[in-house]
Symmetry: C3
Subunit: 153 residues, 3 copies
């Protein structure tokens, strides 16, 4: 299946990137690498998905939030490659910031919400290097923020 | 206006990079990309700008600190490009670590202190991808630490 | 001395990368750059090296943990370059996440455990750009997590 067939099978519709919340842009390409900005978790209505793992949001909820961030990242990536995700050669590196208390230790499981979706959609090209860890807070109080480095044709 | 005319108009004088505080170097170039080390906020006298957002330093002060870090980063970048910032093609990615309490959520506004200055100085070439978030602490207790990936000619 | 002579002189034996703890791979190469995933600190028996700087683990212990992470990173890197570390041209960027309380400020000294070892083993090619900071937590409760960007031939 192509990337778009997989997205359709998963009932995922990509949207244009949200406007940045501050003085930056959502992605920059340099050579064959696209650097995507940190994307924050948002609810279905676009509002920030606020919460802190270990306090008021569960690992399962955090994983769903991370999956939603991956959908947003694919929307931005689609714009970066001129509308054709077939130009994506490899998801290279994913960095996942999990808003968490000092005693929460399942950042890797939360982050799997994004990693597994990228694997489903892109197959071998979706297998990425990764760093995931707990941060003290995230802009607007969001529970998860993820950025990507992607190799494109 | 050229980069140097803009710096002059802003009354900014670039200085050589400070010595690293530990076993690393301030930048490494690989191909067309320069990776700059995390630069910590410093007061005008060079001492660490200590403080934590949400505790004992305001968003406006944090923003001023971030602007100061951007000045230091440009000083390092100038050395990396052999003294001529006209060789900078694009500020690609900025990562901003804001020393903050678990209830501070304006890391994006703090980080704008750096992002806006880079935009003023480099124009379109200064528009960058970005990740900004709250960390538990920063070496020497500094309030902000920022690193960059930059494409050069 | 070659890289392998240095490793032997330091009595360091590299091992194959540990399996990732979640849905990712331990490294991805794009062009001449290898991006290594965040590697977490482990005890000699392979179990997670749990602890938080400023709470129940000292700077010296954290530095030893960071040195162990560097050994693990070199094992992964060796696999990435097809078994021959002589293909490493430059350790480009090291990012060190130190699990720490909000009042611990020696992340740079902890991180030197990794940086100094890379310098000993790779010489000038081991001099890297770096960011080190304190995070709220790390997967499995580990005290340190480090990732790398490396240029290879």
């Amino acid at each position: 299946m192509s990337v778009y067939e997989k997205l359709k099978a998963l009932d995922i519709t990509l949207t244009a990137p949200a406007a940045p919340v501050a003085a930056y842009v959502m992605y920059v390409q340099s050579g064959n690498l696209v650097f995507l900005s940190g994307h924050i978790a948002r609810k279905a209505d676009g509002s920030p998905w606020v919460g802190q793992l270990g306090k008021n949001i569960s690992t399962e909820e955090g994983k769903a939030a991370a999956r939603g961030v991956a959908v947003a990242l694919m929307g931005t990536l689609q714009e970066a490659v001129g509308g054709d995700l077939a130009r994506v050669r490899r998801i290279v590196k994913l960095t996942s910031l999990v808003n968490s208390t000092p005693d929460f230790t399942e950042h890797h499981l939360v982050t799997n919400g994004a990693s597994e979706l990228l694997g489903e959609v892109f197959g071998d090209a979706g297998k990425h290097a990764r760093a995931a860890f707990g941060v003290a807070q995230i802009p607007l109080g969001c529970c998860v923020e993820i950025d990507l480095v992607v190799e494109v044709a």
